[in-house]
């Protein structure tokens, strides 16, 4: 149990996926203009990351590794993710058309959100150290890790969207307008998150 707690704290705060690992920066910048779209996008990403990690983990363990096809990881994973995103898109269109409208172009773009592929690859290739010795994650740990990581993504995105809504009303120098000031703000935010390092 303690180990799961360590995974959660570490994935959300210490190794935040955007602010420390630089994954999924493009959609992070793209949809964080408004709090409502940021929340919706976080939800969609959260769902896709967790689902994709579980599916790719199983495919890797029971298909690619026994057949000695691990070199096909990249191709196999991206295809699985693309298919999953397609399914999420269809489901969302059906149950929440307004959210579907709001997310617009960024929904199909979850496929090319490197956070999804990044977490999926990380989980099956990297050894993690939570508590005791470094080891590969088992399915339960991988699922918790993926869920916590995507919650971290949502947290960063929602916090940043709040800041950007404030920023829209302030007087920003001409050359800083738009993305430059956004990057600088994220930099300061990343500095704040650096304060969490060492607690796990």
């Amino acid at each position: 149990m303690a180990e799961y707690l360590l995974i959660i704290v570490s994935a959300i705060f210490v190794n935040n996926i955007v602010l420390a690992q630089f994954l999924g920066v493009c959609p992070f910048m793209g949809v964080s203009n408004k709090l409502s779209t940021a929340t919706g996008m976080s939800g969609a990403v959260c769902f896709v990351i967790t689902l994709a990690t579980v599916v790719t983990y199983l495919i890797n363990k029971y298909f690619l590794v026994p057949l000695g096809l691990t070199f096909l990881q990249t191709i196999a994973f991206i295809l699985v993710i693309a298919a999953l995103v397609q399914i999420v898109e269809i489901v969302l269109k059906k149950i929440s058309p307004s959210l579907y409208q709001a997310l617009g172009i960024f929904l199909p773009l979850i496929t090319t959100n490197c956070a999804v592929l990044g977490v999926a690859i990380n989980v099956v290739t990297k050894e993690f150290t939570f508590g005791d010795a470094a080891h590969m994650l088992n399915l339960g740990e991988a699922t918790v890790y993926a869920l916590a990581t995507s919650l971290g993504y949502g947290l960063a995105m929602v916090l940043f969207a709040g800041m950007r809504e404030q920023m829209a009303q302030s007087d920003v120098p001409e050359s800083f307008k738009g993305l430059p000031i956004a990057f600088i703000t994220v930099g300061i935010m990343a500095m704040a998150f650096l304060g969490f390092s060492g607690i796990v």
Partner: protein, 193 residues
């Protein structure tokens, strides 16, 4: 557009980082030093050129409905080729860049050029476009890497010219965002003139 224009547009007019703002993840993550930035840029350029060539060849026969998945498979194939080549010949570099080599698959620059340029232009022009955007990306990554390496460890390409430790934050995550932000400001300022 002239052939020379195709190659040089990546530097300023269609700079992938500062103007198109694509491929931010490797730009931020792999520019801890000038050398890492350069290596990442070259790796991306390799995939960019080859995928542009193949996609411009096959795009007339690919049905419109499935063109994105087909392009992604083409790109993923070249990324796998690159992974295997790097593991065989430059394992050290492969180790340093780590996750960001397989992640070239989802680098929006590669898919973006396939969609916006290679699928509509001749093979030769697409190859030149790949080279041009690749050079722009590589140089930008190198510049960011140089700035971060100077501030963070007081050296350039490993050649140390400032004694002491440097400002560690610039090698870590916050520095990446800050340097990119301020370089963008500088680029905007200069581009406007």
């Amino acid at each position: 557009m002239s052939k020379l224009g195709l190659i040089t547009k990546g530097l300023l007019k269609e700079n992938p980082t500062f103007v198109l703002v694509l491929g931010m993840c490797p730009t931020l993550a792999t520019t801890t030093s000038a050398m890492n930035g350069l290596e990442m840029g070259l790796a991306t350029m390799f995939v960019l050129i080859l995928s542009n060539i193949v996609i411009s060849l096959i795009s007339p026969v690919v049905p419109d409905k499935v063109h994105i998945p087909v392009y992604i498979v083409v790109i993923a194939t070249f990324v796998t080729v690159l992974q295997l080549l790097m593991q065989a010949f430059v394992p050290q570099v492969y180790e340093t860049l780590g996750l960001f080599i397989p992640l070239i698959v989802v680098n929006c620059i590669v898919l973006g050029r396939a969609e916006a340029f290679a699928s509509k232009n001749s093979v030769g022009d697409s190859a030149l476009d790949g080279i041009g955007i690749g050079i722009g990306f590589t140089l930008t990554l190198m510049v960011i890497g140089i700035v971060r390496e100077i501030l963070g460890s007081g050296s350039v390409f490993g050649w140390k010219f400032i004694a002491g430790d440097g400002i560690l934050a610039f090698v870590m995550a916050p520095g990446a965002f800050l340097v990119l932000g301020y370089l963008m400001v500088l680029f905007n300022k200069l581009a406007k003139r």
